[in-house]
């Protein structure tokens, strides 16, 4: 029963579940209190913060702000920076909805929004991003890698060129999809804000963090009791934070092995699938995450294929997951200039940490069998 939808979510790691368990029972305290139960909880989240900071190379633990997940981190980054500096947003046409909708929200508030287009491989030109920045721009947000196609964006070069041009803007990257396989580091010359989500890397759902470089101006978007130095109010999800730290540490430690193993699974999948039936790998020539395979099946409706795969026990996706369960047209493919008909024939397969070459071959066999019946 192949699960080929790790870009949507991943199964929780055993070590994560074990680490979280005590915080669902005896260590139940609210870290904001003054008693022993509170101290235990407070200690747990601060230890988690230190471990995550160390894992990503952040200079200070307090540069890690715990949030309710990737979407919330993106909202805090984009809305928070734009409000704090009362400026506009420069972003790309292929960002996750959490960034694009945050930008549109700011647009409705009167902030200047620039959406930079991408080329046919889904990649943004760093020069286009830099030239879109004006003295009214507060934040530039460019994802590390795309959630649908896996295409890796030149966030490093974008950052370098903005810095060397002396542009005083905050730089954000959504690294939710990339964190499992790419060396995401909080370096002095890297982005000021980095979004990471727990459940994409074997951690729990509903938890994530935003790396916030010390000194970066950020207006909170969730107001209340002033937790997280006022940057994110609300009682901490202590168990989630503990689980997140374990997932982050393990992911960083296993990254090289993950990239090799999962990449081999994905490559074998695409090779075997292509040898059985006609397919077009989206942005196949581009620099992509090893985990993602976005495939067009000419002449086969994605919706039909996904249902037939589901009935055969295979989980895959058409673009990003949509809350109603119906399939929406992908803004990512549209931005790449993919015709709507072709987009409607495209399916995303995404692999996870336990998948190897043999799994890739087996998955290809089943998908080819099902697709073969439809062509």
């Amino acid at each position: 029963m192949p699960y080929l939808d790790h870009a949507a979510t991943t199964p929780m790691r055993d070590d994560v579940r074990a680490a979280m368990a005590p915080y669902h029972s005896e260590r139940f305290g609210n870290p904001s209190g003054i008693h022993a139960a509170a101290r235990i909880a407070k200690n747990a989240i601060e230890e988690a913060r230190e471990r995550i900071a160390a894992a990503i190379g952040a200079a200070r633990p307090l540069e890690i702000v715990f949030t309710g997940g990737g979407t919330e981190s993106d909202n805090l980054a984009v809305v928070g920076a734009a409000l704090a500096r009362n400026g506009g947003v420069v972003t790309t046409a292929v960002e996750h909805a959490a960034v694009l909708e945050s930008a549109r929200f700011l647009g409705r508030l009167g902030h200047e929004i620039v959406i930079v287009p991408v080329d046919s491989s889904g990649r943004v030109d760093p020069g286009d991003v830099v030239s879109a920045v004006t003295d009214r721009t507060a934040i530039v947000s460019v994802m590390t890698a795309n959630n649908e196609t896996g295409v890796i964006q030149p966030i490093g070069e974008v950052t370098r060129r903005i810095r060397s041009a002396g542009l005083p803007v905050t730089i954000h990257t959504d690294a939710v999809q990339a964190f499992a396989s790419l060396p995401i580091r909080a370096s002095d010359d890297g982005p000021d804000l980095i979004t990471v989500s727990g459940h994409k890397i074997g951690g729990p759902k509903g938890i994530g963090f935003l790396f916030v470089r010390n000194g970066t101006e950020l207006e909170p978007v969730i107001h209340g009791g002033g937790q997280e130095l006022g940057r994110r109010s609300g009682t901490h999800d202590v168990a989630g934070i503990v689980g997140l730290a374990v997932a982050v540490e393990a992911t960083v430690a296993e990254r090289d092995r993950y990239a090799a193993r999962v990449g081999a699974a994905r490559d074998r999948f695409e090779h075997d699938l292509g040898s059985r039936i006609p397919i077009e790998v989206t942005a196949g020539e581009a620099d992509r995450l090893v985990s993602h395979s976005h495939v067009r099946f000419p002449g086969i409706r994605a919706e039909t294929l996904l249902v037939r795969l589901d009935l055969a026990g295979v989980a895959a996706a058409a673009g990003a997951a949509c809350h109603s369960g119906a399939i929406a047209t992908s803004h990512v493919l549209a931005a790449m200039g993919v015709a709507p008909d072709a987009a409607a024939e495209s399916v995303r397969f995404s692999f996870g940490r336990d998948d190897d070459v043999a799994f890739g071959a087996e998955a290809a066999r089943i998908v080819a069998d099902v697709a073969g019946e439809l062509s």
Binding site: R308, D310, L311, S324, G325, A326, I327, A328, E373
Partner: protein, 355 residues
């Protein structure tokens, strides 16, 4: 054997799904997403709403069957919603559910039935599909008060060979009893009457918002052309309507004609409303060919009794002659021909015949 069940979130389709499971089918539940409310979400009022789809999803989970929401918004908008407004602008009274069945729903569902490798398509309609040595037949429901054969008249032999309507064999009371016995959450859910894409409750508000020209005022006249008053848009009227005419005269008055070009609504006495028949276009016959005998009964509106009439070809249309004069039917509605309980076919009323 695999069955694709169209689940609306109502009690009938819930029970239909359960009955197919009992019959040993592998059942797949689907809901067609046909309309989007503000912001692209599914509507929150009317049928086909978020909560209806959610009910369907929950029933599917309870029955432990796969369930999918399929996006037919573009097709539905083009084939049903736009013509809905256009029909009112042409002075007609459209039946969007029939247009949907004809142009979107069954086409889409039968196509999905094949694509999902299912053997039959199942809906919760109250009507019966039967087969004998002359072919497939569509009959009225066991529960005459819930009969929906009128909205299914456009189906043909090929369609019916794939369609099963298990709740048409049961009374509504039995359907609800079965649902309650199985603990289905939809057991006591009220029947839906609304047009699925009209979410505000009144189709006139919907039309005025989406097709502003339907809300332009015009004169209300009598049969001699004398102006009796003014109306707020022809969409507020249908042939035969008695209430809400906005005029005060002694005797009861009915809408007898709508002239969309002049935005004129003509009213008259019950006598003046009477008609001798109608011309029907877009006619199809269940058997694939017209009946041999001209004598039929006909329904010219949904919840009405079939009346005796004769059926004759008139060019590419069919002429229906009522045995006795009848209040004029509303162009845009369906005329459905019956031989006793059996549906022969039907089409769209295009013109009223007087004399």
């Amino acid at each position: 054997m695999r069955a694709l069940v169209a689940m609306s979130g109502g009690v009938d389709s819930s029970v239909a799904a359960a009955l197919m499971i009992e019959q040993g089918y592998d059942v797949i539940g689907v809901t067609l997403k046909q309309w989007v409310g503000p912001g692209g979400a599914m509507p929150t009022a009317g049928c086909c709403t978020v909560s209806d789809a959610e009910d369907a999803r929950r029933v599917a989970a309870q029955l432990d069957i796969p369930y999918y929401v399929l996006d037919y918004v573009d097709e539905f908008t083009a084939a049903v919603v736009e013509p809905f407004g256009a029909a009112y602008l042409a002075g007609r009274t459209p039946n969007p559910c029939i247009e949907c069945n004809r142009k979107v729903r069954f086409t889409a569902l039968l196509e999905r039935t094949a694509a999902f490798d299912a053997d039959v398509l199942v809906t919760g309609h109250h009507a019966r599909v039967e087969r004998d040595d002359t072919g497939w037949h569509l009959r009225t429901a066991v529960d005459g008060t819930k009969d929906q054969s009128y909205v299914l008249h456009m189906l043909g032999q090929e369609d019916l060979s794939k369609i099963r309507l298990p709740v048409g064999e049961m009374t509504k009371t039995e359907v609800r009893r079965r649902a309650a016995a199985m603990g289905l959450r939809t057991a006591s859910k009220p029947d839906s009457q609304d047009i699925c894409f009209v979410t505000s409750g009144d189709y006139r508000d919907f039309l005025a918002e989406r097709f502003p020209e339907t809300a332009l005022p015009g004169p209300v006249v009598d049969s001699a052309g004398e102006v009796l008053g003014e109306h707020g848009g022809v969409t507020g009227f249908t042939i035969g309507q008695r209430r809400g005419l906005g005029i005060a005269v002694g005797e009861a008055r009915y809408v007898i004609d709508i002239d969309p070009a002049e935005r004129k609504v003509a009213v008259g006495t019950r006598e003046e409303l009477l008609s001798d028949g109608c011309l029907v276009g877009d006619v199809s016959f269940i058997a694939g060919s017209p009946p041999l005998q001209p004598d039929v009964t006909v329904k010219v509106r949904y919840r009405s009794t079939a009346i005796p009439a004769t059926l004759q070809r008139a060019g590419d249309r069919w002429e229906v002659r009522f045995a006795d004069p009848q209040p004029a039917p509303a162009p845009g509605q369906a005329a459905v021909f019956y031989d006793s309980e059996r549906v022969l076919g039907g089409g769209t009323i295009e013109e009223v015949i007087r004399s």
